[in-house]
């Protein structure tokens, strides 16, 4: 019995994750959550116009990001992926500059909505709002890897509703035919705005779609960062070895409303939401670290304090940062000579 527990507690080591790394994973999850909570507050107090929350998605995002290689692999995240972009180089300050739409915003210089990540230095590929368009782009990066014989993969994430767009189908099929090193990860949070999964699809599991592409496909508990790490790591290896793409379905629940413009209680019950809070990955992962003997309440308090300060400073910095000059709206339509 105690055997089993020890093994369970060594789950991360069995996956090749060091103790330091696993703590970093936890810290990044909390950081993403704290940023997100602050952003919600900032929106509510009228300091920023809009926020789209990733609360409930952090475990999957961080599990995936840590399994990949920073500044080598290419990342095509979607709008909830704060956990992912924070894992691979972006800072809370970057995120704050984006939600305040300031000149220094690295994602777009204040042009795009928050959550529309972009940063070439971190191999984060610019994204747009029309859902699923990034899926074929990721395939294009993977195609380049194959053509140029480079050993990177691309990863692209998107929502469950978005798996019904034509671009999902066309992108996965293309990648499968060409056996490209790309990882498709759907963050299945049970809703597309107000529309529940059963009004979006009639299949049992989204991952069932993989068969139709002849694609290796795997469903995973999106609340378990180590489980996600494992399947993404394996997917990366398959990709690098020339064994083709992988389709991953990470199951979770969207704990926040769709965005700050949404009233989710118009279409789901408080009880349902509360029920799902019980599965929140953050306290569970904390318990795991504690059970591994890697984490104490003291460390937790210190980290919480640090993160609070980080978020405070980032907020302050971004709030005070200058807006872009109006005429900036006219630049970079085409390459300027």
């Amino acid at each position: 019995m105690s055997e089993t527990i020890v093994q369970e507690n060594n789950k991360h080591r069995n996956l090749g994750i060091t103790d330091e790394q696993v703590i970093k994973m936890y810290r990044t999850m909390v950081l993403a959550r704290k940023f997100d909570e602050r952003a919600l507050l900032l929106q509510r107090s009228g300091k920023v116009n809009f926020h789209v929350s990733g609360i409930g998605h952090e475990a999957a995002q961080i599990g995936a990001a840590f399994a990949l290689e920073k500044q080598k692999d290419y990342f095509l995240p979607y709008y909830r992926d704060y956990g992912m972009v924070l894992s691979i180089g972006m800072t809370v300050r970057d995120l704050m500059l984006s939600i305040f739409a300031k000149e220094e915003d690295i994602t777009s210089g204040g042009r795009q909505m928050p959550g529309h990540f972009s940063a070439k230095q971190y191999h984060i590929v610019t994204g747009s709002s029309p859902v699923t368009t990034q899926v074929p782009h990721a395939v294009g990066f993977a195609l380049a890897a194959k053509m140029k014989k480079q050993d990177f993969v691309s990863i692209v994430t998107f929502g469950d509703g978005s798996s019904n767009q034509g671009d999902f189908h066309e992108g996965l099929n293309f990648a499968a035919v060409q056996k490209l090193p790309v990882i498709f990860m759907v963050e299945n949070n049970q809703y597309a705005i107000s529309t529940p999964l059963h009004k979006q699809v009639a299949c049992e599991r989204l991952v069932d779609r993989g068969l139709g592409y002849g694609m290796h496909s795997v469903q995973v508990d999106g609340n378990d960062p180590l489980a996600v790490y494992k399947v993404v790591k394996e997917a990366r290896e398959r990709g690098i070895k020339g064994e083709g793409p992988t389709f991953i379905e990470a199951k979770m629940y969207r704990l926040s409303p769709h965005s700050t413009s949404d009233n989710d209680l118009a279409y789901r019950t408080k009880e349902e939401v509360e029920e799902n809070w019980k599965k929140d990955s953050i306290p569970h992962f904390k318990t795991y670290l504690e059970e591994c003997g890697l984490w104490t309440e003291e460390q937790e308090l210190r980290m919480q304090e640090e993160i609070k300060q980080e978020v405070n400073e980032a907020t302050k910095y971004a709030e005070q940062a200058p807006f872009p000059k109006p005429e900036e709206a006219l630049t970079h339509v085409f390459k300027e000579q």
Binding site: A101, G109, R111, Q112, S129, T195, Q200, P326
Partner: protein, 327 residues
């Protein structure tokens, strides 16, 4: 007559048409239980049930394509595109299918379909929640395109669109939704598609416009009246087929034409309006035909100073009219 908002006029048109004709139904993303992300379809779900206010999967080409099929059968679908920015996955269905069905079947089949989409900026929507996609579709024969500026027109035009035997794109400026309120009769009426409307009579400068910018023009005109400049304001209302006669009459009236739209200038419908005038009235003009439109950038940025710089407004429009008057 009750005073209602632009958005309520749109909701009322759908509700009344659904009561009148059981073949009318709405479909789209989040239009059912939630009543739409802007609330245009609120109440329809309760009144007409989930089949006639149907939450669809997140797939615009299917929304358009399924609606086309249903329309060919004889239904009267109203397909909602959540934002004009997101209707482009349906372009092939709209242009290659809906618009060509009557023509290609030599009048055997028809496609009485309405596609509604909110357009326009000024709401901190950034590049992909602020677009004016109308110029992509203007120039597609077989397609009617409508953009109301007032609650009265919105209700009357939407009813006309629903009763039309051909596909109609119905664009709603989201900034008008709650901002524009006016009197709308309780009785059933329609506003004919293809007819422009003189929203203000004037003698010095003719402004030709549609959608949100109609209001900027009217506000500017009211102020300019004080300064002794008299502005004639023509609201196109229908972008396709354009009201040639109405346009020429308005242009002739003052001999000075200023075309205004939020959509970016190059390739916008303003070019067509200008070309129509240049084709017919070139020697009757007292000034070059000017266009005052959105900048030619991929779309409107979200950062407040950038958005403000991009958006037209009363003051910018006033300045443009003044310059034209002084020409």
């Amino acid at each position: 007559m009750a005073k209602i908002s632009y958005i309520d006029a749109i909701s009322a048109a759908m509700k009344e048409e659904m009561e009148r004709d059981e073949n009318v139904f709405v479909l789209g993303e989040d239009v059912g239980v939630k009543g739409g992300v802007f609330g245009t379809t609120r109440g329809l779900h309760e009144q007409f049930g989930e089949m006639r206010s149907m939450d669809t999967p997140l797939a615009e080409s299917a929304i358009a394509g399924v609606a086309i099929g249903a329309a060919m059968y004889g239904m009267r679908p109203i397909a909602e595109m959540q934002y004009g920015d997101f209707m482009l996955p349906a372009t092939n269905q709209i242009i290659n299918e809906a618009a060509r069905i009557r023509y290609r079947s030599n009048n055997d089949w028809e496609c009485p379909l309405v596609i509604r989409a909110p357009i326009g900026g000024g709401i901190f929507g950034g590049l992909y929640h602020s677009q004016c996609p109308e110029s992509i579709f203007v120039g597609t024969p077989g397609l009617k395109i409508v953009v109301p500026s007032t609650p009265y027109d919105a209700k009357g035009l939407l009813k006309a669109a629903i009763r039309d035997e051909d596909p109609v794109l119905f664009f709603e400026h989201k900034k008008c939704y709650r901002m524009i309120v006016d009197e709308v009769p309780e009785e059933d009426y329609i506003v004919e598609i293809g007819k422009s409307d003189v929203k203000r009579e004037g003698e010095d400068v003719t402004v030709i416009t549609y959608g949100l910018t109609v209001h900027f023009a009217l506000q500017a005109a009211a102020e300019l009246e004080q300064e002794g400049i008299s502005t004639h304001v023509l609201d196109l209302r229908t972008l396709q087929p354009l009201d040639r006669e109405g346009i020429l009459k308005a242009a002739e009236k003052t001999g000075k034409v200023l075309i205004i739209h939020e959509d970016n200038k190059t390739g916008g419908v303003g070019a067509e309006v200008s070309a129509i005038i240049a084709e017919e009235l070139v020697f009757d003009l007292d000034a070059p035909i000017k266009r005052f439109c959105g900048y030619d950038v991929p779309a409107m940025p979200i950062s407040p100073p950038l958005e403000k710089f991009y958006m037209l407004n009363k003051d910018k429009v006033k300045q443009a009219i003044k310059e034209m008057a002084l020409f």
